[in-house]
């Protein structure tokens, strides 16, 4: 265990405590709790930053990476960088809008991502870069992609809060949408947690995903277990739908201005979209062109990036030109982040488990 991973560990714990603090702040609305939450987040962020810098230096000192290569080249490193951007973005919003309630939505994402890393036991080795990955275009591509991903994650948070606050009627499509979304997310997390409890592995590579993903539940060899899992999943989703008002009451009690949430979602996407276009699509294409001589080959990763791009283009056009406001576009913002997650994790874990190719790109 070296220093940088212990510092990451401290940051992970810190974000979990911050999450608890932000949620209690939402529940009790005590200013002191809010300040504590911010303090914990700041301290964890500093620890996180130092760990990142140390790891950068280690890769260089061990002769595995050139000095200008930040550590963002594998799943472990990129998730950590994603969380770093996310928290930075969140802190900026907190200080700018002087509003903390949003932290209760962001710190869980950060804590979950880092806990996922810890639990999965994914390789934390500093890996040397294979030749194709030694490209400055790739570096710019990865860095900017993750910055935009974290923007989209923030917009997901604000969009979801908007939806929760704005929907009352259980039969309303927007209400069904957000409760089912949260329900499915819960089901996935529970299913992966059960996999972990049963097999002590978290599917972080295509091979593991193929062998273990949902083996304890939906993919169980026993038909009974698998059938029960489906029923259980439906029950969880139903419960979220039935008791969604609890979550809603908490958020409503906080008197967040929904217009600000709508505006914030738009603003964050308006910053994330150009960054994603340039870094995620254009730089990625230039890198592929330099490395293989094809700037676009419709491979699943590229195609999913394009899908993500279209979803956000849809958001911008619908909002700006068709005058869609509020719930309709908030749904698009949430869907957009789902495609982001799929582009990043789903393509590598699910699709490449389904196919036989590796996960080089």
């Amino acid at each position: 265990m070296n220093i940088s991973s212990s510092l990451y560990g401290i940051a992970t714990l810190g974000y979990i405590f911050a999450m608890i603090a932000y949620i209690s702040y939402l529940a009790f609305r005590k200013d002191t709790i809010g300040k504590i939450a911010t303090g914990i987040t700041l301290l964890s962020f500093i620890s996180h930053t130092v760990a990142f810098a140390l790891r950068w230096y280690e890769g260089y000192a061990e002769g595995l990476r050139a000095f200008w290569r930040p550590p963002i080249s594998n799943l472990y490193e990129s998730l950590i960088f994603f969380v770093w951007c996310l928290i930075l973005g969140y802190l900026i919003i907190e200080f700018k809008y002087k509003n903390r309630s949003f932290g209760a939505f962001i710190t869980p994402v950060a804590a979950l991502a880092l806990a996922f890393i810890e639990m999965s036991g994914m390789s934390k080795q500093i890996e040397p870069l294979v030749p194709a990955l030694q490209s400055n275009w790739l570096l710019a591509h990865v860095t900017m992609s993750f910055i935009s991903y974290s923007m989209f994650a923030l917009a997901f948070g604000t969009g979801l809060m908007y939806l929760i606050e704005k929907t009352e009627d259980r039969k309303e499509p927007a209400y069904i949408f957000w409760t089912v979304s949260i329900g499915v997310l819960l089901v996935l997390l529970i299913a992966m947690g059960l996999d972990y409890l049963k097999f002590h592995v978290v599917a972080t590579t295509p091979e593991l995903a193929k062998a273990y993903l949902f083996k304890a539940t939906f993919n169980s060899p026993s038909t009974a277990v698998s059938a029960l899992s489906w029923i259980g999943a439906l029950v969880v989703i139903f419960l979220v739908w039935r008791f969604g008002y609890v979550l809603r009451n908490i958020i409503v009690s906080f008197r967040l201005d929904t217009r600000i949430l709508d505006e914030l979602t738009y603003k964050i996407i308006a910053i994330g979209f150009p960054i994603f276009t340039l870094g995620g699509l254009i730089f990625g294409a230039i890198w592929a062109d330099q490395a293989w001589g094809v700037y676009w080959s419709w491979d699943p990763k590229e195609t999913w990036s394009l899908i993500t791009w279209f979803v956000y283009a849809f958001y911008l056009h619908a909002r700006l030109m068709r005058g869609w406001r509020g719930k309709k576009v908030a749904v698009v913002a949430v869907v957009g982040f789902v495609t982001v997650v799929f582009t990043y994790l789903g393509v590598n874990l699910l699709l490449s488990g389904l196919h036989s190719y590796g996960s080089l790109k």
């Binding site: 899908i307 619908a318 068709r322 389904l354």
Partner: protein, 478 residues
């Protein structure tokens, strides 16, 4: 009744000029694209049958396969309907832009006009302050607000005494959206040119071989390059003593009309370009008959003189300045030793090349052993002489991707345009500011600031506010 008179052409135009269509197309292209990421494109039928049976069960898989195949989903990004979506998308983009351009052009280029003081319209930004002195006396102060915002105001008199200042900035940024849209079209044109006039192929070229053709990626047909390429050498470099490749390189020479015209060492991310063709280092491999290779050694004798020796397996050489003869007995591309000390070959790639050499003097065997390219300490012989293994040449081939794409510069140009377009569309705005400067009839002047911005309005409002508050504190100091 107006509507019914619209001609077919008008209706077609309206259809393509609508953003509703754009939104529908975004959704259509995005959702159908998903299918192509689940079904492996251009793969063998068995592969996709397997994928389908995993998804929907083995009973339904064959008929689902047949259905999807007949709809072109096995190569969907080139299917007629997907290409139709893309064409509709392009037409939509063109017509939509043309349709709106005149209005936007006017907004972007129209000079700002003074406000009609009889009927002052309402403005999103409006702020009134009272300053001591005559309108003429406060002119510089009001000017300073404009200046601090980077605006150069024009001036016109106001009826009943006073004047107004007004200015705008960033009108052309309204065109940012159009620049973005234009860039999408430029990229699409570049891509189409590449599809119709480009070549995309591969060439596996063994060390020492020359080729004047490359092979089409899809059909495998030979394609004349118009010149030849020779692979002089190929080499893989590893990270330290690991099996992880750090870099691979090919030494290439371009030959045209019998003359060597260009030499270049290529590596991944560092291709060779010649006459529109680009050769990318993409893979490597071994020739089937490895015994054909030539061992290149640097042999140093007791007098310190070094000679380069090139020999095949089975051949012999002499260490300079001695009568010691080395005979090359064996070669392994990847030598390893097992726990009992026996040697074996662990890979058929050149991961750890080694040659077994037997030395003898006047027919009497002296010593023998393996010399490894990656382990310099094996080069020192017991008697102080040295045999360095430089290479085992002529058994590896370099895998090159060969591409010619006359449209790629348009794609790159489009990317650059898009970067500018997005920047001006999202991060810049069109601001307008007016200041009405009128006397209140006594000794004071009322200044009314009014302004708008097409986006980032709050930000602009704050800046205006700041500039005005500075003006007020300054006038208090006076």
């Amino acid at each position: 009744m107006e509507k019914e008179k619209k001609s077919f052409i008008d209706r077609l135009w309206d259809f393509f000029a609508s953003i509703k269509l754009a939104i529908v197309l975004f959704a259509l292209i995005a959702s159908t694209s998903i299918v192509g990421t689940v079904i492996e494109q251009n793969a063998s039928p068995e592969k996709n049958l397997k994928v389908l049976s995993r998804l929907i069960g083995p009973d339904l898989a064959p008929s689902a396969y047949r259905l999807l195949d007949s709809l072109g989903f096995m190569d969907m990004y080139h299917s007629w309907w997907f290409v139709t979506f893309l064409v509709l998308f392009a037409v939509n983009l063109i017509i939509c832009s043309i349709d709106r351009l005149p209005r936007i052009w006017k907004l972007a280029t129209e000079p700002i006009k003074p406000i009609n003081t009889d009927r002052i319209p309402s403005f999103p930004i409006k702020k009134e302050i009272v300053l001591k002195g005559t309108p003429e006396g406060v002119r510089d102060k009001v000017m300073s607000v404009f200046k601090s915002l980077g605006l150069k105001p024009a001036n016109s008199p106001v009826e009943g005494g006073g004047f107004q200042l007004y200015s705008q900035k960033g009108g052309w940024t309204r065109l940012g959206v159009y620049i973005t849209h234009l860039s999408i079209l430029v990229i699409m044109i570049g891509a189409v040119i590449g599809i119709f006039f480009g070549f995309h192929g591969y060439l596996n070229l063994p060390e020492g071989y020359t080729s004047s053709v490359a092979y089409d990626r899809k059909t495998g047909k030979a394609h004349e390059l118009g010149f030849s390429v020779r692979c002089d050498d190929f080499d893989v470099e590893f990270y330290g003593m690991s099996e992880m490749p750090k870099d691979y390189r090919s030494w290439l020479t371009v030959i045209e009309n019998g003359r060597e015209v260009l030499r270049k060492v290529i590596e991944v991310n560092e291709p060779l370009r010649y006459k529109g063709y680009i050769f990318y280092q993409s893979s490597y491999g071994m020739m089937p008959n490895i015994k054909q290779g030539i061992l290149i050694l640097k042999v140093t004798g007791p007098n310190g003189k070094t000679e380069t020796v090139t020999k095949r397996i089975g051949e012999s050489f002499t260490i300079p300045g001695t009568n010691i003869v080395g005979t090359i007995k064996d070669f392994s591309p990847a030598l390893a030793t097992d726990s009992s000390g026996r040697t074996y070959t662990y890979s058929n790639m050149m991961n750890n090349p080694a040659a077994k050499i037997e030395f003898s003097k006047n027919g009497t065997p002296l010593y023998s052993g393996w010399i490894l390219k990656r382990f310099p300490r094996t080069w020192n012989l017991p008697d102080g002489n040295r045999v360095e293994m430089v290479d085992f040449w002529g058994v590896q081939y370099t895998g090159l991707q060969v591409r010619k794409d006359p449209g790629v510069w348009l794609v790159y140009l489009g990317c650059v345009i898009m970067a500018f377009g997005l920047y001006s569309a999202f991060f810049m705005n069109h601001k307008k500011l007016w200041a009405l400067v009128r006397t209140d009839g006594k000794n004071n002047t009322i200044v009314t600031f009014m302004g708008t911005a097409n986006k980032g309005r709050q930000h602009f409002a704050n800046k205006v506010e700041d500039a005005i508050s500075k003006l007020i504190t300054k006038s208090k100091e006076v």
